[in-house]
């Protein structure tokens, strides 16, 4: 079983500041971290590997310092990591990114045939969730999004049973392998990495590829050139109003909150799924 996890280095949006004049992220204000959903993706790969054996590769696209997220993935338990980095990739939107990553995946697949690709649900800086499915489409394998449990991996039949999160419940899906999963945070808890992993990661030198290391690349589909997305406007959403403070004894407050909840009960009823 060879699992490839796609990871991204993102600014920590919990602390990042937004330049009030330009409405862009002030990237200097926040440290760069491994996208939290991707950390769960790596952790899930580690869990699967414990059952099935095999190996885990991670793949990232970004500037040279993005090797930090590959090292972080090694800490969690990945075996090797690839970074594709090149001026030609700069300015890529989700379309160009999924193209570049799929080209790298093709090369990885040639050296070590890939059985499964795992991505985080989305990156916390862009929140689009498009790169994972984009890769699946380009590689012509089934995408399964919002996975909250890998229920069963059948290596013999080359199938996998997955639980997907829906707005009103969950869905069990059987997919053939290879396939691509995007995972939610609740799929696992990130484990405290063992010391040998930490030492391995500190020592690890990621494999670095430029465009010229990839085959059959149409350069017009890379980077800014390959990105049809146009950002029309950026704005900071207004802060929500302060809300209402309930006063009185505990009983009075409870009855007041019940009234409010009953008024808005439609919000809490399940909508039938399509």
């Amino acid at each position: 079983m060879h699992i490839v996890v796609c990871v991204k280095q993102v600014p920590d949006t919990k602390i990042i500041k937004i330049n009030p004049k330009t409405n862009t992220l002030d990237r200097r204000s926040a440290p760069a971290i491994l996208n939290p959903y991707d950390a769960h993706a790596v952790q899930e790969a580690v869990k699967i590997k414990e059952l099935t054996g095999g190996s885990i590769s991670v793949l990232s696209m970004g500037p040279p310092q993005a090797t930090a997220v590959i090292k972080k993935s090694i800490e969690i338990g990945a075996d090797r990591g690839y970074l594709i980095t090149d001026r030609a990739f700069a300015g890529a939107d989700t379309l160009a990114t999924s193209y570049a990553l799929s080209k790298a995946l093709e090369r990885i697949n040639k050296d070590h045939p890939v059985d499964m690709i795992i991505c985080g649900k989305h990156a916390i800086d862009g929140d689009t969730g498009q790169v994972g499915p984009g890769i699946a489409r380009r590689m012509d394998i089934p995408p399964v999004t919002n996975v909250i449990e890998v229920t069963e991996v059948n290596q013999k039949e080359k199938t996998v049973l997955l639980k997907r999160k829906l707005t009103n419940g969950y869905e069990l899906i059987q997919s053939e392998l290879p396939c691509l999963l995007t995972v939610e945070k609740e799929i696992n808890e990130i484990e405290y990495s063992p010391m040998p992993n930490m030492i391995e990661a500190a020592r690890y030198e990621p494999i670095i590829w430029a465009v010229s290391d990839l085959e059959n690349v149409d350069r017009a589909q890379l980077g800014l050139k390959g990105s049809p997305t146009i950002v029309g406007k950026m704005f900071t959403p207004p802060r929500p109003e302060g809300g209402k403070k309930l006063e009185g004894s505990a009983d009075e407050q409870v009855s007041q909150i019940m009234e409010v909840l009953m008024e808005k009960k439609d919000l809490f009823t399940l909508q039938p799924s399509k």
Binding site: Y192, P194, M195, P196, M198, I199
Partner: protein, 431 residues
């Protein structure tokens, strides 16, 4: 079997990083373990980095290290409630290479410095707490961390785990430090535009100023406050010995608030935005508090060995130099293939032969004197302020009469004999 290194260094502050860097550069296999998210994440100092000891490690470091401003002016304030007696020195020879010292932000500087150790070949592991030394037959043979499979082994373990050094305490090298052996310092980083800093402190872009403040800044207790200029922020902080704080029932954040609202300080920081709030213990026990610094397979450096000169606010430089001396001793021990206490005691010899212990020895009674006799901070600082005010107020009194009046008010407030005693005692403490 877990891996074995030549050296494990616990703590990536100035001491630990200096030791790891020097060992790695000479080809030793070094593991540097840091508990913070990155080196510097948990490290605190007022903010002055001295050139000399840093330069010994990395020549011309100022060309690449993330520094704030070279310090070209050092001011000292004896502050009363509504006045200040100030003296200081400003010199442009400090504004050019090789400079004298610099203000730094530790979160950035320590990260860069640890990066140099990694470049030299040390392995750096963050977010990992060393819980204890592994001791076998009376010899330290490695460390246990809080991670699964967390044991790692080495010929020498270097403890650079900071002021409380739980690890050397576990080994019985020192007892729990008394409240009068440590200072509690709180500080804020206040963002302020570059132009405002330059105007308020009379500086050019690449020039910095430090102000050490005595007297009312600690409400007369043993301690100091400081105000340092960074590129686009100020470091302001105040600290007193823990015992003073306990005795005076002061809360550190109240003291900092008091300082920030002091009429002598407020105009300098007004309009700034608080960016960070930090607090830390500083080992200020000095010479008498220095613990055992070498044992079988183990060495203690930096704050963990209490190497701070509180009078001259030197600490990070001593930390770096102790790290360098430790590394030199380890390299020699490696040649001998002997990591026993007798062999590693070379480090102790080097340390006691260096400026570090010599300086601590010089001031071994200073803190004790100033804490035991609070009149220096509580009475003389206000007296100086009154005297200067009287002397410089032009009111028709002849200057000679003024001098007499001043001397008289000093001797009548404290008594002639006691003034002489106080002067002698202070001189003895710092001679």
């Amino acid at each position: 079997m877990s891996e074995k290194f030549d050296v494990i260094v616990v703590g990536a502050g100035p001491a630990g990083t200096s030791c790891a860097y020097t060992c790695a550069k000479s080809g030793l296999n070094v593991l540097l373990i840091e508990r913070g998210e990155y080196p510097g994440a948990k490290n605190v100092m007022g903010g002055v980095l001295y050139r000399k000891q840093m330069e010994e490690l990395i020549p011309e470091f100022w060309k690449e290290a993330p520094l704030e401003r070279p310090v070209i002016e050092q001011r000292f304030w004896m502050m009363d409630k509504e006045s200040v007696v100030s003296f200081g020195y400003k010199g442009l020879e400090w504004a050019v290479e090789p400079y004298n010292n610099f203000t730094v932000l530790r979160a950035q500087f320590d990260q860069w410095f640890a990066g140099k150790a990694v470049e030299a070949g040390a392995l750096l592991i963050n977010e990992t707490v060393v819980t204890e030394c592994i001791v076998e037959n009376g010899k330290v043979i490695g460390v246990r961390t809080d991670r699964p499979n967390g044991e790692v082994y080495a010929d020498v373990v270097v403890l650079a785990d900071g002021v409380n050094s739980l690890l050397s305490k576990q080994l019985g090298f020192h007892k729990e430090f008394r409240p009068d052996e440590v200072a509690l310092t709180v500080m804020e980083v206040i963002n302020l535009p570059k132009e405002k800093i330059n105007d308020r402190f009379n500086l050019e872009d690449n020039q910095g100023c430090t102000i050490e403040i005595f007297g009312d800044s600690t409400k007369g207790n043993l301690g100091t406050a400081f105000l340092y200029t960074n590129k686009e922020s100020l470091n302001i902080g105040v600290g007193t010995t823990l015992s003073s704080m306990i005795n005076a029932k002061m809360k550190p954040y109240e003291l900092l608030d008091y300082l920030k609202n002091h009429p002598m300080v407020k105009p300098l920081i007004s309009g700034g935005e608080s960016a960070e709030y930090l607090a830390h213990l500083i080992p200020e026990g000095g010479y008498r508090s220095v613990p055992k610094v070498a044992g079988n397979g183990v060495i203690v450096i930096g704050d963990a060995a209490q190497l701070v000169n509180a009078i001259h606010r030197e600490g990070s430089n001593m930390a770096m130099h102790s790290g360098l001396l430790a590394a030199e001793s380890i390299i020699e021990a490696k040649h001998r293939g002997d990591y026993s206490e007798a062999s590693l005691n070379l480090y102790r010899e080097k340390l006691y032969d260096s400026f570090i212990i010599k300086d601590l020895e010089k001031y071994k009674d200073a803190a004790h004197t100033f804490e035991k006799y609070p009149q220096y901070f509580k009475e003389y600082v206000p007296m100086m302020n009154k005297a200067m005010s009287k002397f410089f107020t032009v009111d028709g009194t002849p200057k000679r009469d003024k001098q007499k009046q001043i001397m008289k008010s000093v001797t009548s407030e404290r008594g002639t004999l006691r003034v002489i005693q106080d002067i002698y005692r202070a001189w003895k403490a710092v001679k």
